[in-house]
Symmetry: C2
Subunit: 315 residues, 2 copies
């Protein structure tokens, strides 16, 4: 069993590739919940939904998030009524939020609800929120501390970032299905997807027992770089790195993860960085990491899995 750590669009795309490469019993995708928030009285889990829609093959192929063939009649009327319309919720998408909110209020765990939704959407691989406890990414910026969605959607990542805080992380244990995967011997390797290291992966690693697995070096950990040719494939990762005074490159990301990651998959465009990343006894694989289709996702996933096998073979 391989455990993938995924955030938003990039994470979902690699998770899709891994799901094509591995049988249902061989892959579990742990998903960030630091972006989750309450909006219009609804509990919204953007990363879980992006992974779920992508694995179900019903995601919007242009944006990467949201649903294909989505309609916006709810938002139209909401705006007409004077409601908050800065966070756009499609008509199909809304059913997930309303039903999830209802079930959460009824006392069900987010992981149980996610599992039920995935089954309904025909997803055979396990998708698990990293925790069932509230864990919220707070962004420290030159405009003060902001809730994640305030920073990310409402302010379009414009404020300058100075740091992060993961509210609730001190007490957030892994969700029940993730806890089972963290038992000794349950998984044979970890893949860190090309999700934003600060906004998507850091809140997951703020869950102590998950971080401890990576720090234990019990299983090989491979990562796919979210930075290609000095830019994030999607999202504000490169902008944030510059604001934090970190080199916006695959090398900067590799240095950020340090010894947590045993092997890196970087894009062929970053071949020049290979020696620097490989110093520090890391394994590096060069390949095309631009996951513009499920085929390309499968290709990147296969490279990550090959690298993991090579690392496991040398132990």
């Amino acid at each position: 069993m391989i455990l993938a750590l995924a955030g938003g669009v990039g994470g979902a795309r690699l998770a899709c590739g891994l799901a094509l490469a591995l049988a249902p019993g061989e892959l579990a995708v742990a998903v960030n919940v630091g972006d989750d928030f309450e909006h219009l009285g609804l509990s919204i889990s953007p990363d879980l939904d992006t992974v779920m829609y992508t694995l179900a093959g019903i995601q919007n192929p242009e944006t990467g998030w949201g649903r294909a063939g989505e309609t916006w009649h709810f938002m139209e009327t909401l705006a007409r009524l004077g409601g908050d319309s800065w966070f756009r919720l499609g008509d199909h998408d809304l059913a997930v939020h309303v039903e999830r909110t209802r079930r959460l209020r009824g006392g069900e765990a987010l992981s149980a609800i996610t599992s039920s939704f995935c089954a309904r959407l025909g997803i055979a691989h396990a998708v698990v929120p990293v925790t069932d406890a509230p864990l919220r990414t707070m962004v420290n910026t030159d405009a003060g501390e902001l809730c994640f969605q305030d920073y990310f959607v409402r302010r379009r990542c414009e404020p300058m970032v100075t740091g992060f805080r993961f509210e609730g992380a001190d007490t957030a244990g892994p969700s029940a299905p993730l806890a089972r995967l963290l038992e000794p011997g349950a998984i044979q390797g970890v893949v860190i997807c090309p999700s934003n290291p600060w906004l998507s992966v850091a809140p997951m690693l703020a869950v102590a027992r998950l971080r401890a697995l990576l720090e234990s070096k019990r299983v090989p950990v491979v990562a796919v770089s979210p930075i290609v040719a000095g830019n994030a494939v999607k999202g504000p990762a490169a902008k944030i790195m510059r604001e934090l005074g970190i080199e916006a490159s695959a090398l900067g990301v590799a240095r950020h993860y340090g010894t947590l990651v045993d092997g890196w998959v970087i894009d062929t465009q970053d071949a020049a960085l290979e020696p620097a990343i490989a110093s520090g006894a890391r394994s590096v694989a060069l390949t095309d990491t631009m996951m513009i289709s499920p085929d390309k996702s499968l290709h990147a996933a296969s490279e990550a899995l090959s690298l993991m096998r090579r690392i496991a073979g040398t132990r």
Copy 2:
């Protein structure tokens, strides 16, 4: 100022006619909230919405309730996720429920929210819930006591009715805007719309201060019969009357209201009932009451207002 008492589709249609006949300062529509319920975690007020959509001219002309040009993508996905789909919520319509629920949870009164929504939808006449307090119609049937929507929508009015209970009515005061209309001298007459006397009007009259206005005989009260030629124009009124052992006719309805109503507008199809209804010193107007268009609604409303003026003139 005329006060109309309205429930669902029939009430909304007469309210539409009254709004065409009277200037905004001359009409307030008090609306039943006994049908309101919590569903999927949302606060739903079916009668308020039917009146609001009809006065805004955006109602579904076929069904009489819901929105014209509605789409059902939310329901499609909700059903796919295994959510409750017996009560159908359209994508446009849903915005009203989500935003109302959010504002109610924030502590706003239903009447204030309704007023804000109506303003946003361009409705110039006052639309006021009869109360801001929870008041719920419970239907006693051969299948036990049922919540209104369980009886009405889920069980399609199939159980045999033995009586009603209006939960919360003992303590429900009029909403703030209705309370102002109940001050002495504020209104010059009441129109009881052709809404179900048991399911729609009775819960309104269960609010003691509103019922006291009608019982005081301070202002003329005219009503338009919801029963035409022995049948309800829409809904289960005739079926319920038969189950309660009451003659399913305009006469049966007139006897039910008794001395509360001073003048009746009945359909020309029921001309034979005029003498019996008029005995008891009631005024009766015969006209076409089938409100199949706004013009026809205006016609019926004008007849009701003429009758009210005639009654006022004889006092």
